[in-house]
């Protein structure tokens, strides 16, 4: 069986590892920083383009269709896209703790909170804000084309099922579960710290 000073043997063993770790030059790191900034700019661009295309789609078709459901769907759709742009931008603007200035406990807790908050933001009502306009618009589209293109009705039902099923029901349930998982970890951490008198 082990003797009391075994951890010292393990420390020697431990220090034999990691001698061939990757080496980075400051120039490489500078390039990586540039890449990270470029990636961030690109993701903003993609986000902007996606929302712009959706908003433009609703706005352009607005004068051509007189169906009331489509019109309500288009107006709500533009508002919903605007709302989600704000949600995403606010999430990205959230100040993350500085790894150099924050202790391990504080940093770990802040990371768990950040993940929990992101997942708990994707609640059913928030997803409904995004999904409902599309469903209304689709139903209006089906009404408009029901006689000239009956296949369109099928397409709309399929579309609505996917939207409803994935975004309004499945996604919030999944994210709620994940948010709860992070909250449980926060509770476990808090309980451990309380036990240890912090």
């Amino acid at each position: 069986m082990a003797c009391d000073d075994l951890p010292d043997d393990l420390k020697i063993l431990w220090k034999e590892a990691g001698m061939d770790g990757p080496v980075f030059s400051p120039d490489q790191l500078r390039q990586e920083t540039e890449k990270m900034h470029a990636k961030r700019r690109r993701s903003y661009l993609v986000l902007g383009v996606v929302f712009s295309v959706v908003i433009a789609g609703f706005a352009i078709t607005f004068p051509y269709f007189h169906n009331i459901l489509m019109r309500i769907g288009a107006i709500l759709g533009i508002l919903a896209c605007g709302y989600w742009v704000v949600v995403v931008l606010r999430e990205r603007a959230r100040v993350v703790p500085d790894p150099a200035e924050t202790d391990g406990v504080g940093f770990y807790r802040a990371e768990l909170e950040r993940m929990r908050d992101w997942h708990s933001r994707l609640r059913a009502w928030r997803m409904s804000i995004l999904v409902t306009p599309f469903i209304l618009y689709d139903l209006g589209l089906a009404q408009t084309f029901a006689k000239v293109a009956p296949w369109m009705v099928l397409f709309v039902w399929f579309d609505c099922t996917i939207f409803l099923g994935l975004l309004a029901i499945w996604a919030p349930i999944k994210h709620r579960k994940t948010a709860r998982k992070y909250q449980e970890r926060i509770d476990t951490l808090d309980a451990a710290l309380r036990r240890e008198g912090r």
């Binding site: 069986m1 082990a2 003797c3 009391d4 075994l6 951890p7 043997d9 393990l10 420390k11 020697i12 063993l13 431990w14 220090k15 034999e16 590892a17 990691g18 001698m19 061939d20 770790g21 990757p22 080496v23 980075f24 030059s25 400051p26 790191l29 990586e32 920083t33 703790p97 790894p99 150099a100 924050t102 202790d103 391990g104 406990v105 504080g106 940093f107 770990y108 990371e111 768990l112 993940m115 999944k174 994940t178 970890r185 951490l189 451990a192 240890e196 008198g197 912090r198």
Partner: protein
């Protein structure tokens, strides 16, 4: 950091001195080789950037480990996001209980012992990981407390538990010393 010393020069020195230690840390936080390289890069990047504001209020060693641990913790939290199959983290006590069936001889197969040690650490809760890694890197309790934010007394308690877990998991084998 010496004001006249550039951030790059300072980073080079630190990377040369602490490179192996940072590599071990990355290994202890990430088992997948590709993700491990990404994590190593993230750690080095965060360190290089942090030296811009290093003010000497704490020791350089404490600063380096704090940055590295926090970046690695963030990596671990991100990696377990939404993974249903992700194993739950163990506390030191749970690791001790689970260890009773497996006892590795250090001197017989050093690679196996090391792999076993890394596997043990990779399953621990990030906070316990920070303590065990700092302990293995020979940091004193005061420095570990400064890095983790735990009290010195708590750190001592954890170190005591760590030793118990390690003793239960490993044995020295036939010959003395290594």
């Amino acid at each position: 950091m010496d004001r006249t010393e550039s951030q790059d020069e300072f980073y080079r020195k630190v990377a040369a001195e602490y490179g192996a230690s940072l590599a071990r840390m990355a290994y202890a936080y990430e088992a997948d080789p590709d993700l491990r390289r990404d994590l190593s890069q993230e750690i080095h990047l965060a360190l290089w950037r942090s030296f811009e504001k290093f003010n000497g209020r704490c020791s350089l060693r404490t600063w380096i480990y704090r940055v590295a641990h926090n970046v690695a913790t963030s990596h671990v939290v991100r990696q377990t996001r939404g993974k249903r199959s992700a194993p739950a983290f163990l506390t030191l006590e749970e690791a001790g209980v689970q260890a009773s069936g497996e006892n590795v001889e250090i001197s017989a197969d050093r690679h196996q012992a090391l792999a076993h040690l890394f596997a043990l650490i990779q399953r621990l809760d990030p906070l316990d990981r920070q303590v065990i890694l700092a302990y293995l890197e020979d940091l004193d309790a005061e420095s570990i407390a400064e890095i983790t934010g735990l009290s010195v007394a708590n750190v001592w308690t954890k170190i005591h538990r760590i030793k118990e877990v390690l003793v239960r998991q490993f044995h020295r084998g036939g010959r003395d010393g290594l």
